[in-house]
């Protein structure tokens, strides 16, 4: 029970203690924050930047930025969610600074249609493909490598939407494109990835 008489679940109370500690400059509070959240933040940065040094620099930027804006954090979101957004911002700043490296169209991976709008070729059903943990790991490795194959202008929106769960509007703002363009890029990226994965999972004819 807090002084205001409101009951908070354990993790919220823990976060409030940590936040209070950070705001009051309690020794080791910042280190506790870093040790608790750096792993997840690094993973978020790494899957977008694909380079360990860049990812760790982005995490460092994110923590410093979080410290500067502690006053604006009202505690309504979880600390981890707030830090995740700050990490995405730090990553986007780095991506903008280095420019889009690999901007290519994906036409060869999109489905083809005949003149009357039906699929040009029959679509195959996929099998499960990962019955054992070893097969599952192998499939995940392949999928990961196919995601990395996608050009930046499609890979990044795909990750922001499906992994980081940003809205299309947030992706549009982060990438400085229209909301429709953001939607289309996510859709095309999924279609291209589907096409790249298909040889591993399509039922033989």
């Amino acid at each position: 029970m807090t002084r205001t008489g409101i009951r908070y679940p354990g993790h919220v109370l823990e976060e409030r203690t940590l936040l209070d500690g950070l705001r009051e400059g309690v020794p080791h509070a910042f280190e506790e924050l870093v040790r608790k959240h750096a792993g997840r933040m690094r993973a978020t940065a790494l899957r977008l930047l694909t380079n360990e040094t860049d990812a760790e620099d982005a995490v460092q930027d994110a923590f410093l930025s979080a410290l500067r804006s502690l006053g604006t954090f009202d505690g309504r979101a979880k600390l981890g969610t707030w830090l995740h957004r700050i990490t995405i911002n730090a990553v986007m700043m780095r991506l903008r600074a280095r420019g889009v490296r690999n901007e290519t169209a994906l036409d060869s991976h999109l489905p083809e249609f005949g003149e009357n709008g039906t699929f040009a070729a029959a679509q195959m059903r996929w099998h499960e493909g990962a019955d054992t943990p070893a097969l599952r790991d192998d499939l995940c490795r392949r999928v990961r490598s196919h995601i990395e194959e996608l050009p930046d202008n499609y890979r990044i929106p795909l990750i922001l939407r499906d992994l980081d769960e940003l809205s299309h509007r947030e992706i549009a703002e982060a990438l400085d494109v229209s909301e429709n363009a953001a939607k289309l890029r996510v859709h095309r990226a999924r279609q291209a990835l589907r096409d790249l994965i298909e040889p591993h999972l399509a039922e033989p004819a």
Partner: protein, 124 residues
């Protein structure tokens, strides 16, 4: 021609793969069978390209109710779009699984913790 044959041949016809003479048989069957006649109407109210172009909006529940019903009806007659939708959904699941696996296995490098703490001290 029986009804399953009619459906298979209609798909081939829509793909442009049906030999010319067989169109007449299709038409004759549709005139006699009201179910297959409805099937033909459903096939022509939405093309596969339209279905695929707006698939993401369909999945996100962003289509107007009437439009979503047309999409559902199209799925009920189109094995190609059904297979495509399933594989598209599976792709989304697999990409989350593949990328989440990576983050779970990540350990926090001690150097990163020290670098962040040093950067903070320098900034004070």
């Amino acid at each position: 021609m029986n009804c399953p044959e009619f459906r298979d041949k209609t798909h081939e016809h829509l793909r442009g793969n049906l030999p010319r003479g067989e169109e007449v048989e299709l038409k004759a069957h549709a005139e006699e069978c009201s179910e297959c006649s409805d099937f033909t109407s459903t096939c022509s109210e939405l093309t596969c390209k339209e279905f695929v172009d707006f698939l993401h909006s369909f999945i996100d529940g962003e289509l107007a109710k009437e439009r979503a019903t047309v999409f559902d009806r199209h799925l009920s007659v189109c094995p190609d779009c059904t297979a495509y939708l399933e594989s598209y959904r599976r792709t989304m699941e697999l990409s989350v699984l593949a990328m989440t696996d990576l983050s779970v296995s990540e350990k926090i490098p001690e150097e990163l913790v020290l670098a962040v703490l040093n950067a903070q001290k320098q900034g004070e």
